[in-house]
């Protein structure tokens, strides 16, 4: 009986404590800077090295390059860049390998959609997703551990 009474006392005491739930849709949740949300893609920075495509464990990134419009410059520029968020597992490896920080993480995470097709994001969409971009990017991986 004592155990029951103790438990009742405990719950009664917590009755008046401060509530901890977020008022989520009313008050947006502030995610820490490192949060892995949806990628932002900056086409200007991309050098079409295909590293992100290759590292992706689920092969959700598809990209194609085209010859540089300025014939004096070597290399390619990005033509199409898609991420299929149906299978993307937000593992962050693409941003980790990107040498130019063309693909970076943002803090935005609301991906819910009514149709699966909407989860297929193209270059324009990813480029437009340019808010809350993460400031630190993959620099920590360098040996020696210099913090950004």
């Amino acid at each position: 009986m004592l155990g029951l009474a103790k438990g009742l006392g405990y719950t009664l005491r917590r009755l008046t404590e401060k509530k901890v739930t977020y008022r989520y849709p009313d008050v947006p949740v502030k995610m820490p800077d490192r949060f892995r949300g949806i990628q932002h893609f900056d086409p200007d920075k991309c050098i079409v090295c295909h590293q992100c495509e290759r590292i992706c464990p689920t092969q959700c990134i598809n990209l194609t390059g085209k010859p540089h419009p300025d014939p004096t410059k070597k290399g390619k520029v990005i033509d199409t860049y898609d991420i299929n968020f149906e299978i993307c597992i937000l593992c962050d490896l693409c941003t980790e390998v990107c040498p130019t920080e063309a693909i970076v993480m943002t803090n935005n995470f609301e991906l819910a959609a009514y149709s699966r097709d909407e989860l297929f994001k193209d270059r324009e969409w990813l480029a437009a997703n340019n808010t809350n971009v993460r400031s630190e990017n993959s620099t920590n991986l360098l040996p020696g551990g210099k913090k950004s």
């Binding site: 029951l4 438990g7 009742l8 405990y10 719950t11 009664l12 917590r14 009755l15 008046t16 404590e17 401060k18 509530k19 901890v20 739930t21």
Partner: protein, 335 residues
């Protein structure tokens, strides 16, 4: 009400009765709506949550929205179910729940039928709900429902015995089955309330009443972690709502009964507080009983079914009989 009850039956009195019954129905429906709201709020607060706060100001319309949802929800009757009984079962469960309210007195003047055998009426009529639950569980033709139905019935009948025997102590002290007279016997301060004189009986009553109400920690019939939802697994929409409604109407009835039998009904705890209307006192005690149920729900784990049954027969029943014997003996010695 006493005035109308002593008038010869005419269309006027019948209309008054009908109006009062309808009023009671509305009060009960309002109570159920806000009891569910309040339960969710209290449990939410205890669990450091806010509880419903979306529909209406402070979420006050949450239950209303839930009811409306149930009303427009598709009503599925399983193909292999026993259709007739499936439809009948929630009605059988609900009607007695509402019918027992007819005998509960709220104050000296505010009451409905004033039966000489009020307590027996309550006990007898509330027993019929068990039948509804068993039929509901059986008619669904679902294993979880059957298990849940069997369990609830086994539980409810096992605890009905200690419940009815524990209140005999009160009957002994009051010398009547009439609920008004039982309250009248508790006048003059809280030391005259029966929960003190009948402390053992009160304890047995509380435990048995919890089990009868299928409330935590005795909510096995609908133990969602084992039997998913128990006897009403297959029920949806408004048929489900009536099982639910029956449960909460019993919360109302049982809290009122506990107030009447053990907590002195509308009497103030001290005579000098008599200037506060009786209805307020009744409401306070009643609200405490209801809150206690919610509080328990937020705290307790569920009892296991075998321990539950054993407890009823091996502990509660002997205790209830002992209480009965002691009460009679003390009464004999004192008188």
């Amino acid at each position: 009400m006493a005035h109308w009850l002593s008038q010869p039956l005419s269309w006027t009195t019948a209309a008054v009765f009908l109006a009062s019954a309808v009023a009671m129905l509305l009060v009960v429906l309002l109570f159920v709506t806000y009891a569910i709201y309040f339960e969710r709020k209290v449990i939410g607060w205890i669990q450091l949550r806010r509880g419903p706060n979306r529909v209406g100001p402070y979420g006050l319309l949450q239950s209303v929205a839930d009811v409306l949802k149930l009303l427009v929800k598709e009503d599925v009757i399983p193909d292999r179910a026993d259709r007739t009984l499936f439809i009948l079962a929630p009605v059988i469960a609900f009607v007695p729940a509402f019918a027992v309210l007819a005998v509960l007195p709220f104050t000296e003047t505010l009451h409905f039928a004033d039966l000489g055998v009020g307590l027996l009426y309550y006990v007898a009529v509330s027993g019929i709900t068990t039948l509804g639950i068993l039929l509901g569980g059986w008619a669904s033709n679902n294993k979880y429902a059957l298990l849940g139905g069997m369990r609830s019935v086994a539980q409810m009948i096992s605890y009905e015995i200690p419940l009815v025997i524990s209140v005999i102590g009160v009957v002994l002290l009051a010398g009547s089955l009439n609920l008004k007279e039982i309250v009248a016997a508790q006048s003059g301060g809280f030391w005259n309330w029966f929960f003190l004189k009948q402390i053992l009986g009160f304890a047995v009553f509380v435990v048995a009443a919890l089990a009868e109400l299928n409330r935590t920690p005795f909510d096995l019939p609908e133990a969602e972690s084992e039997l998913v939802a128990g006897y009403h697994v297959e029920y949806s929409g408004f048929r489900f709502a009536f099982f639910m409604l029956a449960e909460y109407v019993y919360v109302f009835a049982m809290s009122a009964l506990a107030t009447v039998l053990f907590l002195g009904g509308w009497h103030p705890p001290i005579e000098s507080l008599g200037f506060v209307p009786g209805l307020v006192w009744f409401a306070l005690k009643f609200a405490f009983c209801v809150f206690f149920l919610f509080w328990l729900r937020a705290t307790m784990p569920r009892v296991r079914v075998d321990q539950l049954m054993t407890f009823a027969w091996k502990v509660l029943l002997p205790l209830a009989l002992l209480n009965l014997f002691l009460t009679a003996l003390v009464k004999e010695l004192v008188a």
